[in-house]
């Protein structure tokens, strides 16, 4: 994926980036501008523009920062004193556009005209259901992209080069595709690398993660979420009902995970809801946590709700397809109110690529408390019961990578420190249900694999040992949370062809 790196370094790009000064009015999506963040200026890309409280507001993605830090910023935080980067047209149309049309330097009137004509159109066809999307933020965003997005599209579909500032109504449906393509292009992701069709087909048969820029480059749609005792700020887009865009807060029932856009509704729901724990069988219980196993096919609503919720915090998760082929292992803490969902991981009933985890998430309100390690540990415990090696589905998120690395390191170091004089990588994998590749990755990452006196050796480095000892001290003080394999009452579920087809 080299192109990506290129696009991040403007100096090294083969295609020179168009730069120039901009005003608030000329800003549009795709423009990269310097934005003040934590008293620092960061380069950010505008993903959406929407008027908020009478002022335009800009949804920006900071370069080299995770999308969960994307945010709406007021115009004051934009640095218009520095040059902005105009979005690069697609490589394919670069040549063409130079001949057919001038570079998309924005004439001041153009977007405004567009907007006006657009909004008129909106009103005219607002009755159609598809239009409802364009009321939304992504819809707004798409409208703003129109100026350059249309151009791309025209060249892509090979229609008349420019048909004036007023677009045809049919273009409406292309908008979203446009903005996604634009986003993909902005991300420097070559879309030829992995076609949308290929990915959808792959997702249909297995997996729950997407690499597709069009699916993940979306403007966050919920402002705040209330769940249990907490208010949480969502990290990413999740396809909750479109009506919630207007809600300041979305209320999520802690037990059934149903969602309500209004506190009255939520309170009414709470008077009726009788669930007190995830609707499945408890398969593990110790002093701190319980695990519930839930079949996506049998508990469709609950699992859908769970996926909607977790999508708020998992960038690469896709909800394109339904939850049927997954089992959900939900970790809860208990008190007299009920079993509070802390985190979960989903797992394919049959993974073609030997993944033992599809998605894994500790809810943000419970993060940094060691629950993630328990979840990972539990997923490997299930794999051990199954007598298989497992690995999490890729791509991992940044937090996922760190979590897994920490777990792998601890597991492997513990295994190596049990006094053995030698060991091979496959045995370590078998003992921990880790794939050989993950063992290798960990050893290598910790610089523990070396070549010494004509052969490879595993070196327990001082740093690794020290770190482990520090960890143990900490555990002594804080108490150690581990999964006790004896408390797992579980048989690997078997799904026959008939049970998959008929739900027997």
């Amino acid at each position: 994926m080299a192109p990506r790196e290129n696009s991040n370094e403007p100096s090294g790009t083969p295609v020179p980036v168009e730069t120039g000064f901009a005003t608030l009015a000329t800003l549009r999506t795709g423009v990269k501008i310097w934005v003040e963040k934590d008293r620092e200026k960061r380069k950010a890309e505008i993903l959406g523009i929407q008027p908020r409280r009478g002022k335009p507001s800009f949804y920006v993605h900071y370069e080299e920062f995770n999308k969960r830090l994307d945010e709406w910023v007021p115009p004051e935080r934009l640095d218009l004193t520095r040059e902005v980067e105009w979005p690069a047209p697609e490589k394919a149309d670069k040549k063409k556009s130079s001949s057919s049309k001038a570079t998309p330097a924005p004439p001041k009137v153009d977007p405004k005209n567009l907007k006006r004509s657009r909004s008129k159109l909106d009103r005219e066809i607002s009755a159609t259901p598809s239009e409802s999307t364009s009321v939304s933020i992504p819809g707004k965003a798409s409208r703003a992209t129109k100026a350059n997005g249309k151009e791309n599209k025209d060249l892509l579909v090979g229609s008349e080069a420019a048909d004036g500032p007023t677009p045809k109504p049919e273009d409406e449906e292309m908008d979203l595709v446009d903005v996604q393509e634009a986003a993909a292009a902005a991300k420097g992701e070559p879309d030829a690398h992995y076609s949308r069709e290929d990915e959808i087909e792959k997702l249909r048969t297995s997996g729950s993660m997407t690499q597709n820029q069009t699916e993940i480059s979306r403007v966050r749609n919920l402002d705040r979420v209330q769940m249990g005792k907490f208010e949480i700020e969502p990290w990413y887009f999740s396809p909750y009902p479109i009506d919630f865009i207007d809600s300041e807060m979305v209320y999520i029932c802690e037990f059934c995970l149903n969602y309500y856009g209004e506190v009255t509704q939520f309170e009414r729901h709470r008077t009726k809801c009788t669930l007190l724990h995830p609707p499945g069988n408890e398969i593990y219980r110790d002093d701190n946590v319980s695990f519930f196993e839930i079949d996506g096919r049998r508990q469709r609503t609950w699992c859908r709700n769970l996926c909607l919720l977790s999508k708020l915090f998992l960038d690469h998760k896709t909800l394109y397809y339904d939850v049927d082929p997954f089992l959900f292992y939900c970790m809860c803490t208990r008190d007299e109110h009920g079993c509070h969902l802390v985190g979960y991981f989903s797992k394919e009933k049959e993974s073609a690529e030997a993944y033992n985890v599809a998605c894994i998430l500790t809810l943000p309100q419970y993060q940094r408390k060691g629950f993630g390690k328990l979840l990972i540990d539990f997923s490997y415990l299930l794999s051990k019961r199954e007598g298989r090696l497992g690995s999490p589905e890729k791509p991992l998120s940044d937090l996922g990578l760190l979590g897994y690395r920490a777990y792998w390191q601890e597991t492997i170091v513990d295994l190596l420190m049990d006094g053995r004089a030698e060991g091979n990588i496959e045995d370590i994998g078998a003992a921990s249900a880790m794939t050989t590749n993950d063992v290798l990755h960990t050893l290598q990452n910790l610089n523990m694999l070396r070549y010494y006196k004509g052969q490879h050796v595993v070196v327990l480095t001082d740093a690794v040992i020290q770190q482990r000892e520090r960890q143990k001290e900490k555990e002594k003080i804080k108490g150690r949370r581990v999964i006790d394999p004896d408390r797992l009452i579980w048989k690997p579920p078997v799904f026959s062809a008939a049970s998959r087809t008929w739900n027997w």
């Binding site: 009902p241 219980r285 208990r334 998120s397 070396r450 050796v457 070196v459």
Partner: protein, 575 residues
């Protein structure tokens, strides 16, 4: 370049994952130049998407970890995430302390829909409406929130089933009448009273929303082209493979399921019917009781007013016990009617008992047939005999007038009664009897066909021979207690035809005391026709008194016939 140098020094082997590697501490290995440390070990990808791998915070944490491992310092660097804060809502109010942990692991299979009651939850608009509405009702019964939601939910669900594409094709909101006719058990009687008023509110809300569902719903696929690019469309179905050609096994499975379902439904129907019946019975009992009591009252009243009447009518009308239904089995008419078969076994080999045949039916039928046959024959005979004088009449006809005393007959010596009683004899005996003994004749006859003896041995006729051809014997009691043997189907051997013929001709030569000029008519007694005829006549005799009409005529001929059919001993010339 260093790599090349080291490569020249010693060739590095590839790392094998199966091979045991020594585990060493850091002080046991020589420190190596950094870039040589991990050379020739395949690079393993992190699994994080390349584009995100370079993200600032991740790199910072990885770097800090590297620093930590190197320097042994404990400085925690985190990837910053948006924060979660405590909510303003009163948690204990919303989530009451209801949970008690069971001793065993929880097993649970109810769905969300099962557990959350009425799906519709009222929003602030609804609450405002309800408040105003209840105020307006004043002292009348107020509509509770639950009832309100019930009604709203009913409207929502009903319009969803009736207009599933309301969002797409702009259908008008359903009129109230459509709902009223559909009220079912999901909407309680109490709530129905408010339905009409709530409908107005519901309709307004729907109109505000463009006739879409009031509760926010997820967007599912609509099979339109816009689906694919719409980020809100989620949880699409995975069409499980292509539509398969129906395989035999699949068809079987579906068939089985269908059958199961049908049977279950039938069982359910049966149960419903039983329930209905029991209910009816209960009602009937109640009514009976009422009748009884009322009758008792009437009785009392009667007594009080001293009305003397039949009290019988006041008794509970006792139904006659249900008569068991007579099961009538239609006996199919088998075989040639009119033929009496010795019912030992039947040509089809079935045991007689296997068919329930009513004797009286059978008899009546037989009698009818026989009567007809005889009547016919009698007429025929009369026709034939017109203008003829029957010379055979006198000599053969037995004396009709008196029952002859036994003593008048010659005593018959039966050498071994048992043999005679069980025809046919198991073995043809050596004939040593005197000539002139009537039984001897019979026996001697048998003696002349010794080759058939094997056949005669059978106590029961063989089944492989057709009925008509089987040999049959019958013992009869004649007048005066004489024992007569009838046989049938016994064929004479062809070679002895002449001899037998003359013997037969002379059979009765010396058997009688009558004069020489009496004519002797040789008759083959074993002839089928004769046997049949005799049988008929016997039956006729039974029927005689019943058939008065043809009596006179018949009697004459009967006598004639009897003489024709004959006896073993022709009557003496006394007649």
């Amino acid at each position: 370049m260093t790599q090349r140098v080291t490569g020249q020094r010693f060739r590095q082997r590839k790392l094998s994952t199966k091979q045991n590697l020594p585990i060493l501490r850091e002080n046991e290995v020589e420190p190596l130049p950094d870039d040589e440390a991990s050379r020739h070990i395949p690079k393993v990808e992190t699994g994080v998407e390349k584009g995100e791998e370079i993200e600032h915070h991740l790199q910072a944490v990885i770097a800090s970890q590297a620093v930590r491992t190197a320097a042994g310092k404990s400085e925690n660097v985190y990837i910053p995430t948006p924060e979660a804060v405590d909510s303003q809502l009163q948690y204990p109010n919303l989530y009451p302390r209801k949970f008690t942990q069971p001793a065993t692991y929880i097993r649970f299979s109810s769905t969300v829909e099962d557990s959350i009651g009425c799906l519709y939850c009222m929003n602030s608009d609804d609450a405002a409406f309800l408040k105003v509405y209840n105020q307006k009702r004043g002292k009348n019964i107020h509509c509770s929130e639950d009832e309100f939601e019930q009604v709203m939910n009913f409207f929502e669900e009903m319009s969803q089933t009736k207009q599933p594409y309301a969002t797409v094709d702009n259908t008008p909101v359903l009129p109230y009448e459509d709902f009223e006719s559909e009220f079912d058990e999901t909407i309680s009687e109490l709530a129905r009273r408010f339905a009409k008023d709530i409908y107005v509110h519901w309709k307004n809300q729907r109109l505000l929303k463009g006739n879409r569902m009031l509760m926010p719903t997820l967007k599912f696929e609509t099979n339109l082209d816009t689906d694919d690019s719409d980020p809100y469309v989620c949880f699409r179905r995975r069409e499980v493979r292509q539509v398969r050609k129906t395989r035999g096994r699949d068809a079987q499975v579906t068939e089985k399921i269908r059958k199961l379902r049908k049977e279950l439904e039938e069982a359910r129907f049966l149960m419903a019917q039983v329930k209905k019946r029991e209910m009816a019975q209960r009602d009937q009992l109640a009514i009976d009781k009422q009748i009884f009591e009322q009758r008792a009252q009437v009785k009392e009243l009667k007594r009080k007013l001293s009305i003397k009447a039949d009290d019988e009518e006041l008794l509970i009308t006792q139904k006659p016990p249900p008569k068991p239904n007579k099961i009538k089995i239609d006996v199919p008419n088998r075989g040639v009617p009119g033929l009496v078969r010795p019912q030992v076994s039947r040509p089809d080999g079935r045991i007689l008992d296997s068919d329930l045949i009513y004797l009286e039916d059978q008899k009546a039928k037989k009698d009818q047939m026989i009567d007809g046959f005889i009547e016919e024959n009698l007429m025929k005979h009369q026709k034939w005999n017109v203008g003829w004088v029957d010379q055979t009449w006198r000599p053969i006809t037995p004396p009709l007038e008196t029952a002859v005393a036994k003593s008048e007959f010659r005593a018959v010596h039966i050498s071994s009664e048992s043999q005679l009683l069980t025809p046919p004899p198991s073995l043809p005996e050596e004939n040593t009897g005197e000539q002139g003994d009537p039984m001897e004749v019979d026996q001697s006859e048998k003696q002349i066909e010794p080759r058939r003896s094997a056949r005669i041995r059978y106590a029961t006729p063989p089944e492989d021979i057709p009925f008509q051809e089987q040999d049959r014997f019958r013992r009869r009691l004649g007048r005066g207690g004489r024992i007569m043997m009838d046989r049938r189907g016994v064929k004479r051997p062809l070679d002895g035809v002449e001899e037998v013929e003359c013997r037969v001709a002379d059979r009765y030569k010396f058997s009688g005391e009558e004069s020489e000029d009496d004519q002797i008519y040789p008759i083959d007694w074993t002839d089928n026709l004769h046997i049949r005829y005799r049988i008929m006549i016997e039956r006729q005799g039974e029927k005689q008194h019943a058939q008065q009409a043809a009596a006179a005529n018949r009697r004459a001929i009967e006598n004639h016939n009897r003489s024709a059919s004959g006896h073993l001993l022709p009557p003496s010339g006394s007649g």
